[in-house]
């Protein structure tokens, strides 16, 4: 370990990488962009999926359950390969960026469904009964009484999910999406400054994850700590 540090540091030359900083910056933006798109797709779908998983309709329930169990137990990389390599065989043209965003969204939706489901399960039955006794119909009960409380419960876990989408987005580099990991690797292979460039990328991801967690906690802190009905 000490050998690694001394050899690595004595040879550390960040100046070589200065011309590549804009490329890394664009890569980082792309990382954030595909993560944001995947999250924007998967959070609403996750809510719908959770409602399906908990619905009385057996058909809806089994579709959601099969989806969750299938996607959660298959590596993201396999999902990305299937989208990127197999879909074109069936005449569906797909580029790397679309496949990357879709793959991330498919993966994230499965986990988000489980997050929302846990939130719905945590609402005491009295809340449903009270809302029904006020004469609200099913959609109103969900929209006015239940979902706002579910959000308060799941907000911290949704923050973790955002982080894991950002981390997972690095895998999109493998099918050729030009995000941070992709640019890092191509800079590494053209300059042979793997040590420096991967350190920078790692620091970016660490900073990004920490900022997201802090920001999320700051933005949702008040909602998450508000008292819940019993």
């Amino acid at each position: 370990m000490i050998g690694l540090l001394t050899v690595g540091l004595s040879d550390l030359n960040l100046r070589v990488l200065i011309p590549y900083f804009p490329v890394l910056g664009w890569g980082a933006l792309r990382t954030l962009e595909i993560s944001a798109l995947a999250i924007a797709l998967s959070f609403p779908l996750g809510l719908v999926g959770a409602l399906m998983r908990l619905s009385d309709n057996r058909f809806a329930r089994s579709i959601a359950t099969v989806y969750v169990e299938t996607v959660r137990n298959i590596p993201l990389l396999v999902v990305l390969y299937i989208l990127f390599l197999v879909l074109p065989l069936y005449g569906i043209p797909i580029n790397a960026l679309t496949a990357g965003v879709l793959g991330l969204a498919i993966n994230s939706t499965a986990f988000t469904i489980e997050i929302f489901r846990a939130g719905f399960v945590a609402i005491p039955p009295g809340q449903y009964e009270a809302a029904r006794s006020l004469g609200l119909h099913r959609l109103q009960i969900l929209r006015l009484a239940i979902v706002p409380q579910v959000f308060r419960i799941v907000l911290p876990t949704l923050g973790n999910q955002i982080v894991s989408v950002v981390l997972g987005s690095a895998q999109a580099s493998i099918i050729g999406v030009g995000e941070l990991t992709y640019e890092t690797q191509s800079i590494g292979s053209s300059t042979f400054r793997y040590f420096e460039v991967f350190t920078i990328a790692a620091l970016f991801y660490i900073a990004c994850v920490q900022v997201i967690s802090l920001l999320w906690r700051f933005l949702t802190g008040r909602a998450a700590h508000a008292p819940l009905g019993t």
């Binding site: 690694l4 040879d11 590596p75 299937i82 997972g168 690797q185 990328a201």
Partner: protein
């Protein structure tokens, strides 16, 4: 899709790949758990410097995508140290580091789930920190740790698919190799079979995890039963009397 037939010729190769995937991730889980026990003990120790070191390590590793970690071990370390790192050691090292951070959290929450009274009782018997940990806390914490450890194993199996990127031939690597080397490039067969392999293993393991989780929560619910039994007894014995009275 799978009925097209070529695949049966390669099924044995895929099964071999599956075995290698399991071996790679189990090896990493074992190494990662050793690291995780050290990290977890550091996290729950009273020494602030140890606590902070473990926290920074865990947070940093958990904030770096596994791909970066893997590439770092495979590309950067050999250049920096001027040694040759073949794919297998690189994959197992990166997976173990990744795993240890997650196991560190599992061990920490396991240790924290043991009531403080256990520590105090053990300390009052004059046991040292190491002996309390070794004989009192860890054996009890281990039971709580089983379900999340299986969860870490499942996600390690999934992450291990990335070892195919650095040229290690596990399940996904085997599948991609078969796909490239044969006339299967224009079919979905191999990838579907690979996905199915991962699904079967991960799904079964998750079910095992769920069983253990169920058992732990059931046992915990059973634990306070003596008091409940005492309160319930008069009601139960009272019922036949009221029934017999009329």
């Amino acid at each position: 899709m799978l009925a097209s037939g070529h695949l049966t010729n390669y099924l044995l190769l895929l099964l071999k790949g599956l075995a290698i995937t399991l071996e790679l991730s189990l090896g990493s889980l074992v190494l990662g758990s050793l690291g995780g026990i050290v990290l977890g003990a550091m996290r729950s120790s009273g020494w602030r410097a140890l606590k902070a070191t473990a926290l920074i390590y865990i947070e940093a590793v958990r904030s770096i995508p596994f791909v970066i970690l893997l590439f770092f071990v495979f590309f950067a370390v050999p250049l920096a140290l001027e040694v040759d790192v073949p794919p297998y050691p690189a994959a197992i090292a990166a997976l173990s580091v990744h795993c240890s951070a997650y196991m560190g959290e599992v061990v920490r929450s396991g240790i924290e789930s043991i009531p403080k009274g256990q520590w105090e009782a053990a300390a009052s018997l004059g046991l040292s920190y190491y002996r309390i940990m070794r004989h009192i806390i860890l054996p009890q914490a281990l039971r709580v740790m089983i379900p999340p450890t299986i969860g870490v194993y499942v996600s390690t199996i999934k992450e291990s698919s990335l070892a195919s990127i650095i040229g290690f031939v596990e399940l996904l690597g085997q599948g991609m190799a078969i796909r490239e080397a044969n006339s299967l490039r224009n079919t979905a067969d191999v990838l579907i079979a690979v996905a199915f392999g991962y699904f079967v293993i991960c799904f079964s393991l998750s079910q095992v995890g769920r069983y253990f989780e169920h058992r732990t929560t059931r046992d915990m619910r059973l634990a306070p039963e003596p008091t409940r039994g005492v309160i319930a007894r008069p009601l139960v014995s009272g019922r036949p009397e009221t029934q017999a009275a009329p």
